[in-house]
Symmetry: C2
Amino acid sequence: MSNKVPVGVSNRHLHLSTKDIETLFGKGYELKPLKDLSQPGQYAAEEVVTVEGSKGQIEKVRVLGPARQQTQVEVSKTDSFKLGIKPPVRDSGDIADSSSVVLKGPKGQVQLNEGAIIAQRHIHMHTSDAQKLGLKDKELVSVKTEGKRSVTFNNVLIRVKDSFALEFHIDTDEANCAELKNGEQVEVHK
Amino acid sequence: MSNKVPVGVSNRHLHLSTKDIETLFGKGYELKPLKDLSQPGQYAAEEVVTVEGSKGQIEKVRVLGPARQQTQVEVSKTDSFKLGIKPPVRDSGDIADSSSVVLKGPKGQVQLNEGAIIAQRHIHMHTSDAQKLGLKDKELVSVKTEGKRSVTFNNVLIRVKDSFALEFHIDTDEANCAELKNGEQVEVHK
């Protein structure tokens, strides 16, 4: 049985609460979907914001939709040096005591006391994929890549849901380290 | 027996030929040592240059001394996107058909037709370290790191010389991917 999964590289991005969307873009504002993402129902929005830390800022950080309960900013370690923040490596949604940043939009700005993280790499999969691969939700696996810069990523979290499509999510530091591109196939090992 | 080696993170840098030093900094110019590196005889120089590719440039790239036979620019994959070049992953010194960049110094500029590479990760070691670790020159090993972002770097080249100090050399993408810092200890596996 094949143990291959496709790679999805996440560039820095953010998810916004409805309240923060209104502060940044104006009262009653709704995100404009630009492009569907591989995870069903998720999209890259037309909107971008500036993310500012104590040392610097990064412009045009893409907003992903739809709106979430909590605003969350996902950056790479490389980005964190530029911003001057020390975000923890966390699963999505786990933002307690994570880094503080300021978000600047066309209509206002948001002082985020916590919410900036480095996303822990993970594999999204549908229940049927999990059955085929013999894996279950929250299990940790390794992922091996090929080539001159072959690496084995340890501590890769398995996330199973009927709304998920099979994909190994990594950030740009992880992609650049292993010379991986979107859609490349990598091997899962228990 | 311990199989631990310390990490050395290389930021983007370049080595210059005597001819290119003169073109960039002036006739008869000699590099001014700023700081000794961990490898005996090698130093970071006071001099910096601008490296330019087809898409962008990076300023203040550090020159390492002493002068070499051939000019060589070592960048990360992240840097390569900013510059708009596609450098191959190579061992130091192996620059045939590598990427073209322009170097700009205070007194002139050098059109480098080849010379920009992404350095292949490697472990420098003294002959006595190689004996202790049971390794030989040009052997390939794996290196495992600890922590939430634990990775195993495969295809790590062993370089043995009596002028080398024990150190695992990686670039900033590899360091940021695995959350590694200078001087941290990692495990070598055959």
